[in-house]
Every structure is written in C-alpha cells, then in structure tokens.
C-alpha cells in the first residue's frame, strides 16, 4: 500500500517535470520564431516564406538572413550557455550569488577589449584589414580565458582549491582588472571612449554570421560538456568533504568545470559584450520550477536562459523603433521584477 502510494507520488512528480520541460521547450521555440518573424520592419508571413525559399527581394532577405536569424541563433546560444554556466558555478561554489562574472570571465574580456581599443594602434599595425573586425572578439575570448586561468591558478594551494579562496581571489583579480580598465579609459581619446561604452553595453547585433557560428559552436560544445557534471554537482551539495568521500576528484572537477564555463561564456561575451543577470537568475528560476537536482536543473536553466535572453532581445528591438536599447537593460528590466515575483511567491526561500 505504502509502496504503491510512493510510486504513484513519483510518477506524478515526473509528469509535472515533463510538463514543465515541454512548456519551456515550446516557449523557447515560440520566442525563437517570434524573434525571426517580428521586428521594426513589418514582414508578412508570405515574405518570410519567400525568403526561406530564396525567392524574396533583397530587403526582406537581408532582414531575415542577415539581421534576425543571426541574432536569434546568437541569443539562443548565449542565453543557454550563460544559464548553464550560472547553474554549474552556483552548484560548484554552493553560493547562490555566483555568476560567470565571479570567476573573471567578463572582467577579463572587458580588460582585453579595452587594451585593444585604447592601445591597439601600438601593436596591431601589421594585421591585414580582413582580420580586423575579428580582433576584438578574439581578444575578448583570450582575455576571458586568461583571467579565469589566473584566478583558478591563484586560488589553488597545496594542490587543493577552496571555494572561499576562489571567491576572494576572484574579487581581488576582478578589482585589479577594473582598475586597469579605469586607467585605460582615462587615457583613451573621445572616440575610443565611445567605442568602449558601446562594447560594454552588450548587444546581439555586433557580428555577422561567421563570428556567430564560431562562437555558438564553442558555446554548444562546452555546454554539452558541462552536462556531464550533473551527478558531481549533486554530490557537491553535500559539502566538498562528502563529495570527496563519494570518490570524486574534487579539485579536478572544480578546475575543469570552471575552465569549460570560461570557454562557453567567453565565446558569448566576446561577440556580444557583457550581458548581465541571465547567468544569475535563470538557474534560480529553474530551481523554483524543477527543484535542485542538477540533472533537471541544468537543462531547465538552459531553456529559461534562452527564453529570457530572446525575450529581452525581442523587447529591445521593438519597444522604441527605429532605435534599439542596450540588451543588458532589458534582461535586468524584465528578469528582475519577474525574479522578485517568484521570490515573493515562493514559500521555500
């Protein structure tokens, strides 16, 4: 009798999760289609159909294939990977405030971008013109990896890496990077300053297909790699000692997971600039929806991240045409109140 009740209980839970996943999945698909179909230039369904068939005029074709489709792909990739990395880092560090910025990804990328924009003409003179548009993303990516490696390396002591040490080293290195950015901003010229401002605001409209495909490929591969850590992350919730005694190589897992996160988020930041909030909030929303088991949490967070970022982009593109707001503004503007609403409604926290 008791057994029957338990299994019935289980199966009801399972179907509830299934329903949530189905809902999230359809939300992502719907919002991705909306991202292609809706924009400041009204396009009819037949124009979209003709474009897909390759029979449309140059303008609708360019709008869909050059403007909306790459944004949709990039937004999906960044939303997914920011959310996955946020969930992984929150689990790994057992800290609900952890986000990809903490281990130096955005700080490193920003510092590298500032160096290239302000001091670029000192050392980039011989680079062929065709490569120039890609220098900023490449620099940002390398900067993100380098600073993350520095933080991970310094937070290691006697072959061990404690979470507290990692967080403190992260704070210190981020503030050093911040000071470097401040100094270079100070010596920058007027135009350089404006370039910096616009880079740091974040936007999905910065790159063409080539950069989008490369970065989304990196994000997808690293995100898939992070899915392997779900069991380990669950064990981490019992504390590192317990995780160690369950047979996990705790330090190695922390290193690899953080490194892969840096790859994934660095690839996104490098071509879209820093986009805040998703990495912090998507995992929390997912946790409220499907609970704390990382097997469910990580995929759910990914879907939530995709919905949030594409939703934000849909808003910034359409709210004040022909102008476009910075996307970071919208991620905080819709994510923040929604998150607050969930927090206030939930009795668990």
């Amino acid at each position: 009798m008791a057994l029957a009740e338990t299994s019935q209980h289980r199966s009801r839970l399972w179907t509830k999760k299934q329903a949530i996943f189905c809902g999230l999945f359809f939300a992502v698909v719907a919002i991705a289609l909306a991202e292609v179909a809706i924009g400041p230039v009204p396009l009819s369904l037949s124009q979209i159909y003709q474009t897909l068939m390759g029979q449309a005029d140059p303008m609708p074709t360019a709008i869909i294939t050059q403007i909306r489709a790459p944004r949709m792909v990039l937004g999906l990739g960044i939303g997914l990977s920011l959310a996955i990395c946020g969930a992984v880092l929150q689990g790994l560090l057992r800290n609900p405030l952890a986000d990809p910025g903490l281990i130096g990804i955005s700080g490193g990328a920003s510092a590298a971008v500032v160096v290239v924009i302000v001091l670029g003409d000192l050392f980039l003179g011989d680079i062929p013109a065709t490569l120039r548009p890609y220098i900023l993303p490449i620099a940002a990516f390398c900067g993100a990896l380098l600073v993350t490696a520095l933080i991970l390396g310094l937070s290691q002591k006697d072959g061990e890496m404690s979470v507290g040490r990692l967080i403190l080293v992260g704070v210190a290195i981020n503030s050093i990077a911040g000071a470097g950015i401040g100094f270079l901003t100070y010596i920058s010229t007027d135009t350089q300053l404006r370039d910096l401002t616009f880079w740091s605001m974040g936007s999905l409209a910065k790159s063409g297909w080539l950069a989008v495909v490369i970065s989304v490929a990196i994000m997808t591969l690293s995100s898939l790699a992070l899915l392997r850590f779900t069991r380990a992350l669950d064990l981490f919730q019992l504390g590192e000692r317990a995780a160690f005694h369950s047979g996990l190589n705790v330090t190695k897992i922390k290193f690899t997971a953080c490194g892969i996160c840096a790859m994934a988020v660095g690839a996104g930041v490098s071509i879209a600039g820093p986009i805040g909030f998703i990495g912090l909030v998507a995992p929390h929303i997912a946790r409220m929806l499907v609970g704390g088991s990382h097997r469910f949490l990580i995929p759910a967070a990914a879907l939530v991240g995709g919905v949030l970022l594409l939703g934000a982009d849909l808003i910034v593109r359409n709210i004040a045409p022909p102008q476009e707001l910075p996307i970071g503004l919208a991620t905080s503007l819709i994510g923040g109140p929604f998150f607050l609403f969930l927090l206030l409604r939930s009795r668990k926290i």
Binding site: P40, P42, I117, T130, P133, K206, G208
Partner: protein, 296 residues
C-alpha cells in the same frame, strides 16, 4: 564594403590617415553611382544634418540621429538613435532611400547589413584642419546632386573664415581659455589638445589653457588654478543642468582664476561650437566677440 567596415571599427584606434584613405576609396566608387535624387534621406551625424539643411534639402530628410539637434525642424523627424550605435532594422523600418552619415557612423556590421539590404549609403570623409568643413560640404553636395549649392556654401564659408582670421591676426593678445565639457562629478572635464574645443579656441584667437594634455580629461583643481584661464567656455544647456552659472563660477578652484574673479563665463550651444559644420564661422565669430570684446 571592406573599407567602411574597416572605417567604423577602427575609427577609434587613431588610424585616421589609413581610415580616410579607405573612405576616400569608398567615396570615389560610391559618388559616381549615388548622384541622383533622394526623397527619403536618413542622416546620421549632426554636422551632416546641418549641411543638408544648409544646401536646402532639409525637406527630403525623414530621420536624423540623436546628435542632430539643429535646425529646430529636426525635432519633427524620426529618431534613429546615436550615430555610432545605429540599428540596422530600425533604419530599414523607415524605408529611407539613402543613409548619409558622418565618418564615424556605425557600427561597421550594421553598415554592411544595410548595404546588403540594398540601401544606398554614403559616409563622409574625415577631412583635416581648416579643410574639414569644405570637405564635408562638398561630399554632401556631390551625394545629393547639389554641387552648385555646395560650391556656393563652401565659398561663403571660406570667405567668412578668412575674414575672421584677418581679425584674429590683428589681435596681439591671446586670452587663455578653458572649455568645460561637464562638471557633473568632481573635477571638470575639459578639452585638451587635439579636441574640437582646442581648434575652435585657437580659431577664435584664444589660447587653450588646458593644452598641456590631449583629449577630454578631468582637470584637477590645482592644475586648473595653475592654468589660470581668462575665460571659461561651456555649453549653455549644461550650465543650466548643473544649477546655473554659479555652480561653475563659484567653484573654489575656478574662483582663484582670472575667469572666476572677473566672472568671464561664455555660454554657447555645444553642437554649434564643436560640430564643425556650416555654423562654424558664426560660432568662431561669437566666441571671438566674447574673448576680445573687452580689449584684452
């Protein structure tokens, strides 16, 4: 295409010489095909907007960027946002038949996308020194097929500037001037060497008291006292924003300078003063009138 992309990405990196070559190449190919009548023009760049109006084509403009505030008529046009942060689809949604812009209009990939969508685009060459305004006027005239009007405007501009130069050369005193961009947080941000403010001050027969450094920088209180400007120039709108003239002139550092002691504050429209467009002769003349009125 590659040229324009190169231009907008790297405008920030001081490769100005190379940049202007790239633009010049772009233009020589572009202007041959662009000379036709446009009726729905989108403009990105306040100086270009002023030139289009000065050439009498203001009624063909349907949209301007956020740096275009003159003449008053621009207020009735659609807004496409900041000149360096245009949105491709936003611009297309107004269905313009031409996007004409300043040399720094962008970003690069947006310009490329707009070209791919079949929108004719013309970006102004940078130009240098005294020639930059005639260069821009010539470019706009050629793009819009208004070369006769452009030549007339250029001739007028050159006459006006020559008259001002003759008067400036007649003054044997060069009052020290500081242009304050903003004083919102602590140290005032002032225009050093290699800024448009520096050029305007020199054209008006002044000496930039902040010439010790280049670019726009916050100037420390003691450095400001040591520079001891005779005049302080700032945007009238900004002076109002921060709470009137006293917010600047009663600052402890400013009060120690000649400008502060004598109450020499010149307030002018920032775009007129720094925009380097058709209003530049008027701006220089006005500033010169302030600097040399009291017989320094």
């Amino acid at each position: 295409m590659a040229g324009a992309q190169f231009l907008t990405v790297w405008a920030g990196c001081k490769m100005l010489r190379l940049t202007s070559i790239a633009v010049a190449l772009c233009l020589t190919t572009a202007s041959a095909t662009l000379a036709q009548t446009y009726n729905r023009i989108a403009v990105a760049g306040g100086d270009i907007t002023e030139i289009v109006y000065a050439l009498g084509a203001g009624d063909k403009i349907i949209a301007v960027d956020s740096t275009s505030g003159f003449p008053q008529d621009t207020q009735s046009k659609e807004q496409i946002g900041y000149v360096r942060a245009l949105s491709a689809e936003g611009v297309l949604s107004l269905s313009p038949d031409l996007l004409i812009g300043a040399d720094d209009a962008g970003p690069a990939n947006v310009i490329d996308t707009l070209k791919a969508a079949g929108l004719p685009i013309a970006l102004a060459p940078l130009g240098h020194g005294a020639d930059r305004v005639p260069t821009k006027i010539h470019f706009v005239g050629e793009t819009l097929g208004l070369t006769a009007q452009a030549d007339q405007l250029i001739a007028q501009y050159k006459t006006d500037m020559a008259a001002i130069k003759a008067r400036v050369d007649g003054f044997d005193h060069r009052p020290k001037v500081i242009f304050i961009l903003s004083v919102r947080e602590g140290a005032p941000v002032v225009g050093g060497r290699e800024t448009s403010a520096n050029d305007i001050i020199e054209l008006a027969g002044g000496e930039n008291a902040a010439g010790a450094f280049s670019g726009w920088k916050p100037m420390n209180a003691e450095a400001l006292i040591a520079a001891n400007p005779d005049f302080i120039v700032m945007s009238g709108a900004h002076a109002e924003n921060i709470g009137g003239d006293d917010a600047v002139m009663k600052r402890p550092d400013v009060q120690q300078t000649t400008a502060g002691k004598q109450g020499n504050l010149v307030k002018m429209d920032a775009m007129m003063l720094l925009g380097f467009g058709p209003r530049t002769p008027a701006a220089v003349a006005e500033l010169m009138g302030h600097l040399h009125a009291t017989g320094h």
